[in-house]
Amino acid sequence: MKRTLLLLLIMFIAAGALFAGGKKEAVKEEVDFLVWNQAEPQSLDWHQIEGVPEHRIYYSLGEGLVSSNPETAAPEPGVAESWEVDSTGLVYTFHLRKTTWSDGEPITAKTFVDSWLRVLNPETAAPYAWFPADVIAGAAEYNSGEAGPEAVKIRALDDYTFQVELVGAMPAIVSAFSHYAFAIVPIHAIEKNPGSWTQPENYVGNGPFVLEAWEPQEKLSVVKNDKYWDKANVKLDRVVYIPTDDDNVGFNMYLNKEVDWAPEVPLAQLETVVLRDDYVVAPYLGVYYYIFQMEKEPLTDVRVRKALSMGLDRDTLVKKVTGAGETAAYSMVPPMAGYKPTPGVKGTIEDAKKLLAEAGYPGGKGFPEIEILYNTSDRHLKIAEFVQEQWEKNLGIKCSLINQEWKTYLDTRKQGEFMVARAGWIADYPDPSSFLEMFGSGKAMNGGKYSNKVFDENMEAAAKMPPGPERFSKLRKAEDVFITEDHGVMPIYHYVSQSMIDTNVWGGWYPNSMDWHPTKYIYKK
C-alpha cells in the first residue's frame, strides 16, 4: 500500500514538473493586461447576461452601434459611423461602417435587426430585454408575445443604414445603445453551433478582441481581433480576466502584481490603501439607502421616519465606517449635470428627539423594536451595526439586525416582510429617473410599498417629456415629495467607484462616473 502511494506521489510531482516546464516557454514580448474580474461570467451570449463582470468582457469582445468614451462614458462611434435624429426626437437613423465579424462575415443593418429581434424574442428569455422593450416602439408587444416581430419599429433601410423608432423621447438614448442589451450577435455562427458557439473554437465576435480561452473559474483570455475596424488603435495584445468573488483574494493578486487592475478594494484595507498612488477613486452614480416598510407600525408615521433619519450621523459613518470617500447622502439622486437633488431631511439629534416625542415616543419610550434587514456582506454588517448603535444611543430605540443570504434577502425584500431593509442602487443610465421610477405605486421593486399620487403623476409626466430643464423640474418635484416630504427611504451615502491600477504604467484608463473602462483604449506606457 505504502509503495503504491509513494509511486503515485512521485508521478504527480513528475507530471507537475513536466507541465510547469512546458508552460514557461510561451513567454513572448506581448503586452497582456490582467484584470481581476469579480465573478465567473454567466455567459458570453450578450443576450443572456446581466452583471458587471460580463459587462467588462463585453467591452473587449463586443461592440454595438456605439461604444463609450473611456474618459467621459459618452457615446463614441462604434459600428455606426454617424447618426441623426429627426425633428420629433423619436426616429434615429444610424449609418453603419463597412466592417465584418471576426470570421469575415459582413456586419450589415440586417445584423442589427436580427440581433435586436433575438434579444426581444420571448423564447430567448433575455434578462435585460426589458431595456429595449422599454424604449423601442413595438418592442414590449413583441417581447410579451402580443405581437409578432414585425411590430418592432426597427428597419434596415439599406445594407448600411439602420433606423430605430423610440416609444418616447429618452435622454441619453444613444449612450444607452452602447449597453449590451443592444448588442449584436453572430446569428450565422449561432445557427452553426447552437449549444457551443461561445466556446473559444467556435467564437465569432466583432469587438476589439476575440476569445482565446475560457477555463471556468480560472480565467478567460481574449486576443486582438484582426478584423476589427479600428485595430490600428488597439494597443493590447491580450486581456486576461481572472474571476474570484473574494475581494481579499483579488486584492492580494493585485498587491502581488499578478493582476494589473483591481476594480474593488476590501473594506478592511482602506486605511492604508487610500494613501497609495495607484488607488483611484471617483464619484459613481449609485446610492446606498435604507428602505422603510411603509405599512408597518410605527414606520407609517412620517415623523418617525424623519426622526430615524436625523438620528444617524452619516458624516461619521462615511468617514469612519466606509471610509473610501463616499459622500453622506440626503437625496436619492446623486448630483448630476443639470439636476440639483432635493435637500432631504436634515436635522440635529435634538430635532429627531422632538419629532419622536411628537409621534408619541418621548425618549424612545414605548417604541417597538426595529429590525434592520441586510444581506451577507462585511460592508452591510458594519453599517447596520453602526446604525443600530446610533439609533440606540441617540434616540433610545432598540433595534435588532437580521442577516440573510442574498436570495433569501431578495425574496424577503420583494415580499415586503421587513421593517427597515438595506438596499443599493446603481444607475442603468445617467438620469435621475433611473433612481426614482422603481418607487412608483405597486412597482415590482417597491418592497417598502411607498405610494403617493403626486409622486406618480410627476414621474409619469416626466416620462413623456423631451430631455431638458422642464423634465428635470418634474423629476425634482417627484424627488421632493418622495424624500423631503414623505421620506419613503433613507438615503445614507452616494457611492464612489474604487480601483487599484498603476496609471503610471497603464494609459487609456480613466476614472468615470459610470465605472466603464473599455479595454480598447488601454495601453502600456
Binding site: M1, L5, L6, L8, L9, F12, G16, A17, F19, A20, K23, K24, E40, Q42, S43, L44, D45, Q48, E50, P122, E123, T124, A125, A126, P127, A129, W130, A133, A140, N143, S144, S196, T198, Q199, E215, P216, Q217, E218, K219, T244, D245, D246, N248, V249, N252, M253, N256, E258, E405, W406, K407, T408, L410, D411, T412, K414, W425, D428, A444, M445
Partner: protein
C-alpha cells in the same frame, strides 16, 4: 465476495434515487429563485425565462422531466452559467478537485501514519506530546485561517509563491503547494491521532507479545503486524474523508482560486441554481458510496476477522 459486491452495487441505486428526490424538493422550498436579482425583473421577462427552463410547469412534472434526463446521463442546463450545461461544469471542475484531493490525501496519509507511529512508539515522551500537540493544532485552526495566513506569509511577505491560481495557469504547479498544505492540515492531524491510538492498541495485544517472544525482528513486527492492523481505522476514515475533500474544500478553492467542484456545492445552493446543486449532490453521493464500498473491500482484505456472506 463477488455476490456481496454485486448486491452492494445494486443497493446503491435506491439510496441514490431517494437522495436525488429529497434534494430536488428540498431546494425548491428555499425562498428566492435562480433568477432573482437586485433589480427585480419585470413580470413579462420572468415569465419568458421560466418558460424557457420549464420552471412554470407543476413541480411533479419538472421532477419527472429531470429524472428522465438524469437517467440519460444529462444533468440539465445550469440556471446561472447559461452557455454550458451542468455536465460540462462538473466535468471541468471535478478532475481539478480530484487532483488536489488525492495529493492532499496522499500527503496526509504518509505524514499522518508516520507521525502516529512515532508517537505511539514513544508514548508519553516529549516527542509524543509534541507530535500530538501539532496534530491537535491542525484540527483546531479553521481552514479559512490557515489559508490566508499561508498566503500572507509565503506570497505577500516572502514572495516565494504566487498568491493563488491553478496548475494549468501561468504559474504552473507551484500554485498547488499552499492548497495542499491547507487541505492536508486537519486530515493529517486526524490520521495521526487515529493511527497512534490503534497502533498503541495493537502494541498491547497478545499476538505482538507472541511475535516478540518468538524473537522476530522489531522492524518486521512493526511492518507486518503493527502497521497492517493499525491502518484499519485509518482506512475506514478514508471513505468519508476523501468524499469530503471534494466537497468540503470551498474555503481552499476560494482562497487559492482552485477551479474545483467544492465551490459549486455552496455557491449553487446560494444561487438557487437547482440543477447544479442536484448535479453536485449526485456526484458527491456517488463518490461517497463508491468510496465506502472500496473501503469495505480493503477492510475485508486487511482484517481477516470480517467475512462476507
Amino acid at each position: 465476495m463477488t455476490r456481496y459486491i454485486i448486491r452492494r452495487f445494486i443497493g446503491l441505486f435506491p439510496t441514490l434515487l431517494i437522495i436525488i428526490t429529497i434534494s430536488f424538493f428540498i431546494i425548491r422550498i428555499a425562498p428566492g429563485g435562480p433568477f432573482d436579482a437586485e433589480k427585480t425583473l419585470p413580470k413579462q421577462i420572468m415569465e419568458n425565462i421560466e418558460k424557457k427552463y420549464h420552471l412554470d410547469e407543476p413541480l411533479i412534472k419538472q421532477y419527472a422531466r429531470y429524472m428522465i434526463s438524469v437517467m440519460r446521463g444529462d444533468l440539465g442546463p445550469s440556471y446561472r452559467y447559461k452557455d454550458q450545461d451542468v455536465n460540462y461544469y462538473i466535468g471541468k471542475s471535478l478532475p481539478n478537485s480530484l487532483v488536489l484531493g488525492s495529493i492532499a490525501m496522499t500527503l496526509s496519509l504518509f505524514l499522518g501514519i508516520t507521525a502516529g507511529m512515532i508517537s505511539a512508539l514513544r508514548q508519553n515522551t516529549w516527542i509524543d506530546y509534541l507530535v500530538m500537540s501539532i496534530a491537535v493544532i491542525g484540527i483546531t485552526i479553521p481552514l479559512f485561517v490557515i489559508g490566508p495566513v499561508l498566503v500572507y506569509i509565503f506570497a505577500m511577505k516572502l514572495g516565494w509563491l504566487p498568491t493563488s491560481g491553478w496548475i494549468t495557469g501561468r504559474f504552473g504547479w507551484v500554485t498547488i503547494i499552499m492548497p495542499v498544505i491547507t487541505l492536508s492540515a486537519d486530515k493529517f492531524a486526524y490520521i495521526a491521532r487515529l493511527s497512534r491510538a490503534s497502533i498503541l492498541e495493537i502494541l498491547r495485544s497478545d499476538y505482538i507479545r507472541t511475535a516478540k517472544a518468538k524473537g522476530l525482528k522489531t522492524s518486521t513486527i512493526l511492518i507486518k503486524h503493527v502497521l497492517k492492523g493499525g491502518l484499519l481505522p485509518v482506512v475506514s476514515y478514508l471513505g468519508p474523508a476523501f468524499s469530503a475533500i471534494l466537497t468540503g474544500s470551498i474555503v481552499v478553492e476560494t482562497v487559492f482560486r482552485v477551479p474545483g467542484l467544492g465551490k459549486f456545492f455552496v455557491q449553487s445552493a446560494l444561487n438557487r441554481d437547482y440543477t447544479l446543486i442536484l448535479g453536485t449532490v449526485i456526484v458527491y453521493s456517488v463518490i461517497l458510496i463508491i468510496m465506502n464500498f472500496i473501503v469495505d473491500i480493503i477492510y475485508a482484505f486487511l482484517d481477516p476477522r470480517i467475512s462476507y456472506k
